[in-house]
Symmetry: C2
Subunit: 288 residues, 2 copies
């Protein structure tokens, strides 16, 4: 069930991007925005749409925050790939934005995608004004210097640190870098319904960490062709990862426990949350 | 009257930044955010606060969007100064962020300042939910690929164009690059009061263009020490400016006419808009 829904949701999000991005002037920055928002797993957007379904929210409302979080995620990847950041040439099997265009276009396209995320999250079709304001404020908090950017800054600090990070430090780093956007995505359905997001927050925290541990495992034993990006960068750079700290088997076992925790957090929703449980199991079995 | 209010408002905005930025983790990215938001004319923030006063909105509500627009403006300067963009070493008489720290910190600090702008513009103290949602949506539209980023993208395209830009093209470029944020700032008071922003929009459009013409005049005959940044860059690069297209006297006369237009647009507000009229005259007489 999960894989079919993920594929359907990815298609809905892509169609929404096509509509939303069609009326931008045809400059390299707009071309780069379209390029950077094409493809990807759409896991964050799926979490928005699925948590919305769990709360009886129609897709024509939920598609706005779902597309918003994918725009925000896309901006973060475009800037992360820049030469002064992770310096990556390849993303989803294609040249990164600054390779295909240039660095200035990558900076601007990322900036415009961040603005677009807030434009979509406050679109009148999201619902009542209270919901729009709540979606926007929480997205700003999740993506800024207390959330995603904090995680990225801790990641950069780790590169020049004397000692490799401890497990607690890596966990804090990933909470920001990956966790904050997962959390926002999973809670979005509750926000749209003005319901309590607490169980979904707990689910997303465990899911986000499991996702990141799985990323480290993939980085260690994955196939670059399937992953569509360069692997084993962290190990080569001597950076601490969940795998270097827990060992390959220890990391796999920790990820599996987190998936159990994520599923347990969904108990209040009963059988209706089955697809979210499958999503949790998916994040530790994926090949890209 | 205008200069006293501008100074007072600049102090209020700085104090608000000090509070808002004090609880970020003490990493280079947060230090760079504080550095990039210190100083400057605060003209955009003043326009928010003054248009709010015009509508009887208390400063403890208006300070949020006033600080938001200054955070957004600061992000745009940090990214504009990057080596791949304008490659500037000096801003407000001090080293730019990527010179004082590094490029990665400048990218991240700019990204976090953009998120902060939306966090501030949707803060519950701004007022009713409808106002918060409206401020956020309009800020996203003004700053994204149909507004400020569009202007920046047109600016980059102009650098490699075969022909220097025409007056209509430069005007369109500046409408985005400078005009969109001025317009948002001047309309913010009306948005806070849920009143019609049309006269303020007309005022800001004329003001923004006058501001940019004044910038080109300053670039031509200004003093780099007073301006706190490198001058005569556009002329050296052979780029068309309002001065190259209209001549120095023609540009001054066009700017003066625009200031008259800006003042005329304020007619519905009568004497209460006196300070905004003085602001319009200020933008074409400034030395930095």
């Amino acid at each position: 069930m999960f894989r079919e829904r993920l594929a359907q949701d990815a298609a809905s999000i892509q169609a929404h991007f096509n509509t939303v991005l069609s009326d931008f002037a045809d400059l390299p920055v707009a071309q780069a925005m379209r390029y950077a928002t094409a493809g990807g797993k759409r896991l964050r957007g799926f979490l928005v749409l699925e948590s919305a379904r769990l709360h009886g929210i129609a897709e024509d409302r939920a598609i706005w925050p779902a597309t918003a979080i994918e725009a925000l995620h896309a901006y973060s990847l475009v800037h992360d790939d820049l030469p002064c950041m992770d310096d990556d040439d390849l993303r989803r099997g294609r040249p990164t934005v600054h390779v295909k265009w240039d660095e200035a276009t990558a900076v601007l396209a990322g900036d415009a995608l961040q603005a677009l995320a807030f434009e979509l999250a406050t679109h009148p079709d999201c619902g009542p004004d209270a919901v729009r304001a709540d979606l926007s404020l929480s997205l700003a908090q999740a993506s800024g210097a207390r959330g995603m950017v904090l995680g990225q800054a801790l990641d950069i600090a780790a590169e020049t640190a004397d000692q490799p990070l401890t497990l607690a430090q890596i966990t804090a780093l990933q909470d920001g870098k990956t966790g904050a956007l997962f959390e926002w995505s999973a809670c979005a359905g509750a926000r749209l319904a003005q319901a309590d997001p607490a169980p979904l927050r707990q689910y997303a925290q465990a899911l986000g960490l499991a996702f990141q541990i799985a990323d480290d495992i993939l980085d260690e034993e994955g196939d670059a062709a399937k992953a569509g990006k360069r692997l084993r960068k962290d190990a080569e750079a001597g950076k601490a990862t969940f795998v270097s700290l827990l060992g390959l088997e220890g990391a796999k076992s920790r990820a599996a426990t987190l998936v159990d925790d994520a599923c347990a957090a969904l108990e209040p929703y009963g059988a209706a949350a089955q697809c979210l449980r499958e999503a949790a199991r998916f994040v530790i079995s994926r090949e890209s």
